[in-house]
């Protein structure tokens, strides 16, 4: 630590002012650069005239998905989405390694906040909200073909339902300490991790199955799910979305659990904005 000499602070103030002055310049530069962009909403802009007409005009006939975003996400750009799902999974694993599994401990600690902060009102509201949130998450997943939705959105919703339960009812393994009568519901950290693994494996598995039946990786047309190729692709897309759902929901659970465990075990105070020495 040591006391820093005053001149250094003066220098750092000057540097900060100089740094702050750079940002209006950056903003001006960005806006000037954007003047060259096509007009907002221009139907003839390059972004709207190259690949996207193909997606818009052929997606429904080729993939059976009325929601073109889902068609592009799970079918045309399946590789990309596999990579994104792997990134999400890797973030969950990374957090687990950094916080909960440090020191090569054989058993994962019980997940959850150190203190559940559910009051009667929070408890009652959560009992009503959580089932609705979880059900809506599954609806968003299954309806992703024909309405806004899909695996990512549904997975995050499901994960937020899990977080809500953890926040209000406390650790999953310790009987919901604050409300002994509350049925403990929700996956443990280990189960969340397994959900995420099952998701990413299922995604790659569907891709490999397409190869096994003579197609290319993640090109679902060859899967033996029916005679209509668009319908086969629709079913495979639903499988992909379900796999993404599992990965995202599991990873959100892993992230929340590992961070709460890490804060508890590393003695980081929860609740107050400032730590004791800050």
């Amino acid at each position: 630590m040591g006391a820093s000499p005053p001149p250094r602070h003066e220098a750092s103030r000057v540097r900060r002012l100089l740094g702050a002055a750079a940002f209006p310049a950056l903003f001006t530069g960005l806006v000037l650069g954007m003047a060259e962009l096509p007009e907002f909403g221009d139907p003839a802009s390059p972004a709207s005239t190259h690949v996207s007409p193909r997606f818009i005009e052929d997606a429904a006939a080729e993939t059976g998905a009325a929601n073109m975003v889902t068609a592009v996400l799970a079918d045309y750009r399946g590789y990309d989405t596999l990579g994104e799902t792997a990134v999400i999974f890797a973030a969950g694993l990374g957090c687990l390694v950094i916080l909960a599994a440090a020191g090569g401990r054989p058993n994962l600690p019980a997940a959850g906040m150190s203190h559940p902060f559910g009051s009667v009102i929070l408890d009652a509201a959560t009992r009503i909200l959580v089932p609705v949130v979880l059900l809506f998450a599954v609806y968003v997943l299954i309806h992703g073909h024909i309405s806004p939705g899909g695996g990512f959105q549904g997975g995050v919703l499901f994960g937020s339902g899990l977080i809500m339960m953890r926040l209000v009812w406390g650790p999953a393994h310790e009987g919901g300490a604050h409300h002994p009568d509350v049925p403990v519901f929700g996956p443990s950290l280990r189960s969340s991790l397994m959900l995420a693994c099952a998701g990413i494996l299922g995604y790659a598995g569907i891709g490999l199955a397409a190869m096994a039946f003579g197609g290319e990786f993640l090109n679902y047309g060859t899967l033996p799910l029916g005679s209509d190729p668009a319908h086969v692709r629709e079913l495979a897309t639903l499988g992909i979305e379900a796999a993404v759902f599992l990965t995202v929901a599991g990873t959100v659970g892993v992230l929340f659990d590992t961070i709460s465990i890490g804060m508890r075990e590393n003695g980081v105070p929860i609740g107050s904005g400032r730590g004791p020495r800050e």
Binding site: M1, G2, G19, F23, P24, L26, F27, L30, V31, M34, A35, E39, F40, G41, D42, P43, A47, S48, S52, P53, F55, I56, E57, A66, N67, M68, V69, A71, V72, L73, R77, D80, E84, V87, I88, A91, G92, C95, I98, L99, I146, S147, P148, G150, F152, Q153, G155, V156, V248, V252, L255, T258, I259, G262, M263, N266, V268, G275, R277, E278
Partner: protein, 114 residues
């Protein structure tokens, strides 16, 4: 144009926050603001005058001019969830930093590392 300028303003605010705020947690939140700026920018590129959301209704064969570009929406959909999980990972790292150095203040951290 206004939307682009809005995205540029958000981006600048986020970058300035990352550079100027002393607390690592605030830097992380500023990074999220910057990510939102990129998302706003991409989604605004998908907009077409007179077009609707890229979900097929009951009508006949789809015409490209009637629907917005689905590609930026797809890219940003994954980007949002990826930014959620990378934020989670960064929070995990911050917990470790906080427990080891008992501060998240950048200058104090540098002092302790010296």
């Amino acid at each position: 144009m206004t939307t682009y300028a809005f995205a540029a303003a958000l981006f600048t605010i986020g970058l300035a926050g990352m550079a100027l705020l002393p607390n690592l947690l605030r830097k992380l939140l500023a990074m999220n603001v910057m990510q939102v700026a990129v998302i706003v920018f991409f989604v605004s590129l998908a907009f077409k005058d007179g077009a609707t959301v890229p979900i097929l209704g009951q009508g006949g064969a789809p015409v490209a001019a009637e629907f917005m570009n689905p590609l930026p929406h797809t890219l940003m959909l994954t980007a949002i969830v990826v930014s959620v999980s990378t934020t989670g990972l960064a929070l995990g790292l911050l917990v470790r930093v906080r427990s080891r150095f008992e501060t998240l203040n950048e200058r104090r951290l540098l002092d302790r590392l010296r």
